[in-house]
């Protein structure tokens, strides 16, 4: 009996391959994954930047377009980071091709990091394009550029984790879309994308502090404009805490292969 030599095992290759596959997946349908969200954001920019924006003023020394752009960028980052991992992982479960990964030596850490990084890449790419298009409507001062990049990365990381959790818990396409329609969208719209929380009546302003998206949006706006409702360390700290909570939640699901194996 002859034996083929056993191929050399490259331990990082499973992670790199899964990341590469996830990136190629969203690039393959770029019209849905990159172009559509950019068009949506551009419409918002047109409405709030070029038309209504000239009649509204919510922040001293800044146009309404300048006020709303950070929120629109972050909205693109959040939605796309979430959708990327949620749709890809859920489809794999739904179609059954998740078994192709389950039989391989991909570790839970590699699994989470590959899905997360691909989701972050898509979210940040959409955010970047929205920012570039927003330059046609208003120029942002980029008061704290590093903080802005950090906050965007944090937001995309956080919603990638949420995407993993949603994809695992969803039973069908309806329940998956409920995460977007009934959780993410309301939180974004009520989180201060279009108005500063400080102009709300005290009760609503207090309730807004329970919205995790408020901290991310406010922190990102502070980093870009230099003004915000909260000190930046508070926003960033809350973002880091939420990211860690969701990361450990997602990691525990993946490590146990919850609803993946069997």
């Amino acid at each position: 009996m002859t034996n083929r030599p056993e191929p050399e095992f490259v331990s990082w290759l499973p992670f790199y391959t899964l990341l590469q596959k996830e990136i190629r997946r969203f690039l393959r349908v770029a019209s849905q994954t990159l172009v559509t969200p950019v068009i949506t954001a551009t419409l918002y920019l047109f409405i709030f930047g070029a038309t209504l924006g000239e009649r509204i003023s919510v922040l001293e020394n800044f146009s309404y377009a300048q006020f709303v752009i950070p929120g629109l960028i972050l909205m693109g980052v959040i939605n796309n980071s979430f959708s990327n991992v949620a749709s890809s992982l859920f489809m794999s479960r739904y179609l059954g091709n998740i078994v192709d990964l389950l039989v391989t030596p991909v570790t839970p850490t590699q699994f989470i990091m590959a899905y997360t990084l691909a989701a972050m890449l898509r979210g940040l790419a959409v955010g970047m394009i929205v920012w570039l298009i927003s330059c046609l409507f208003a120029i942002l001062p980029w008061a704290h550029p590093l903080a802005a990049v950090g906050m965007a990365c944090l937001a995309s990381f956080l919603f990638a984790q949420f995407g993993i959790i949603a994809a695992i818990h969803a039973d069908n396409f309806d329940s998956l879309s409920m995460y977007t329609n009934f959780i993410i969208l309301p939180l974004i719209y009520l989180g201060g994308v279009f108005y500063p929380i400080s102009i709300l009546p005290p009760l609503w302003a207090s309730l807004s502090h329970l919205n995790p998206l408020f901290y991310l949006i406010d922190g990102f706006r502070y980093a870009l404009l230099g003004v915000g409702d909260l000190p930046f360390p508070v926003s960033f700290g809350v973002g880091v805490t939420m990211s860690l909570v969701l990361f450990f939640w997602a990691a525990s699901l993946i490590a146990r292969s919850y609803r993946l194996r069997n």
């Binding site: 009996m1 056993e6 290759l13 391959t17 899964l18 590469q20 393959r28 794999s92």
Partner: protein, 308 residues
């Protein structure tokens, strides 16, 4: 001496209170072609899924080439290639891309010679750049075989690989399986085509209701459990069995022209022929017949009695 390809000890799995796999144990030696047979719902796929890592183990243990498939899963999964019963593909990608991804998931760099060999042997060449959704059922099956082998596993698991495929692909597949087996790959296969199992497998295990009800070398199984009989065609119909054939397990069909004599253990064809010669039956033709694996399988799964 090298460790066996697969050692299963007291493996169990319960779904919603119903045991799908019930305390089974067996070993597959390196280089074997091992058949795991059983009716639908016998627990074959659950067993295979536990070996491959798709399903959590309910109880017991699985060792692959001496490594535990729970604590040392990164080692064991590299050594196993699984072709699943259901067609599972990612419609986004072409065959070419998907094969590259699958090698990568196993931590194996692209081996162009091996990849080309798989593509060639499985006839995937002209379809390499087609997206999965555009492939026919047969091509998807071929791709799944290539996918299971792309990382050069030492143990290849084929879960009903020929279900719903044409004769040509069936031959291609079995020729290829024999070829890679000769080169050292151990094969564990399930199939509903028992003739294939009879021809391919060195040993056969039969499962029913989650339990192992037989485990023998294929030849031994056929020899020990397979009955032999003589089929005697008569020139003219007869009314009843001659006296000396009564008690010999003889049966006359309703037309009175076909007689079947079943040989008991230790009885030879000569003994039966002698009994026949002592009768005045108008014999036209005689045919000897051995029970096929299919008959043994039906006999065992209906009775569910034989212990390995």
């Amino acid at each position: 001496m090298s460790a066996p390809a697969l050692v299963i000890r007291n493996l169990s799995k319960v779904y919603d209170g119903t045991p799908a796999v019930n305390d089974i144990s067996f070993t597959i030696e390196t280089g074997e072609i091992f058949g795991l047979l059983g009716p639908n719902g016998a627990g074959k796929s659950t067993t295979i899924n536990m070996i491959g890592g798709v399903t959590h183990i309910g109880g017991g243990s699985i060792e692959i080439f001496g490594h535990d498939n729970q604590s040392d899963y990164r080692t064991t999964r590299r050594q196993v290639g699984v072709m699943h019963q259901e067609i599972v593909i990612d419609n986004f990608f072409t065959i070419d891309q998907a094969l590259q991804f699958h090698a990568g998931y196993y931590g194996v760099r692209n081996d162009e010679i091996w990849r080309q060999r798989l593509i060639e042997r499985l006839g995937l060449g002209p379809h390499l750049h087609k997206v999965m959704i555009k492939l026919s059922g047969g091509l998807k099956r071929r791709f799944m075989i290539a996918k299971a082998l792309i990382h050069k596993p030492r143990l290849l698991i084929l879960d009903e690989p020929t279900a719903g495929v044409d004769v040509e692909l069936r031959h291609t597949l079995w020729d290829f399986v024999r070829e890679i087996n000769r080169q050292g790959t151990t094969i564990l296969l399930t199939t509903h085509y028992l003739e294939e199992a009879e021809q391919m497998c060195d040993r056969i295990a039969i499962m029913n209701h989650g339990k192992l009800i037989a485990l023998q070398a294929t030849r031994t199984l056929l020899k020990e459990l397979g009955t032999r009989s003589l089929l005697v065609s008569l020139q003219t119909p007869v009314q009843g069995l001659p006296e000396n054939l009564c008690g010999q397990g003889a049966e006359l069909d309703s037309t009175g022209t076909m007689l079947q004599l079943t040989m008991s253990a230790g009885q030879s064809t000569g003994d039966l022929l002698k009994c026949l010669c002592d009768t005045d039956l108008p014999i036209a033709d005689i045919e000897t017949r051995k029970a096929s694996l299919e008959e043994i399988f039906l006999q065992l799964t209906k009775a569910g009695k034989v212990e390995p």
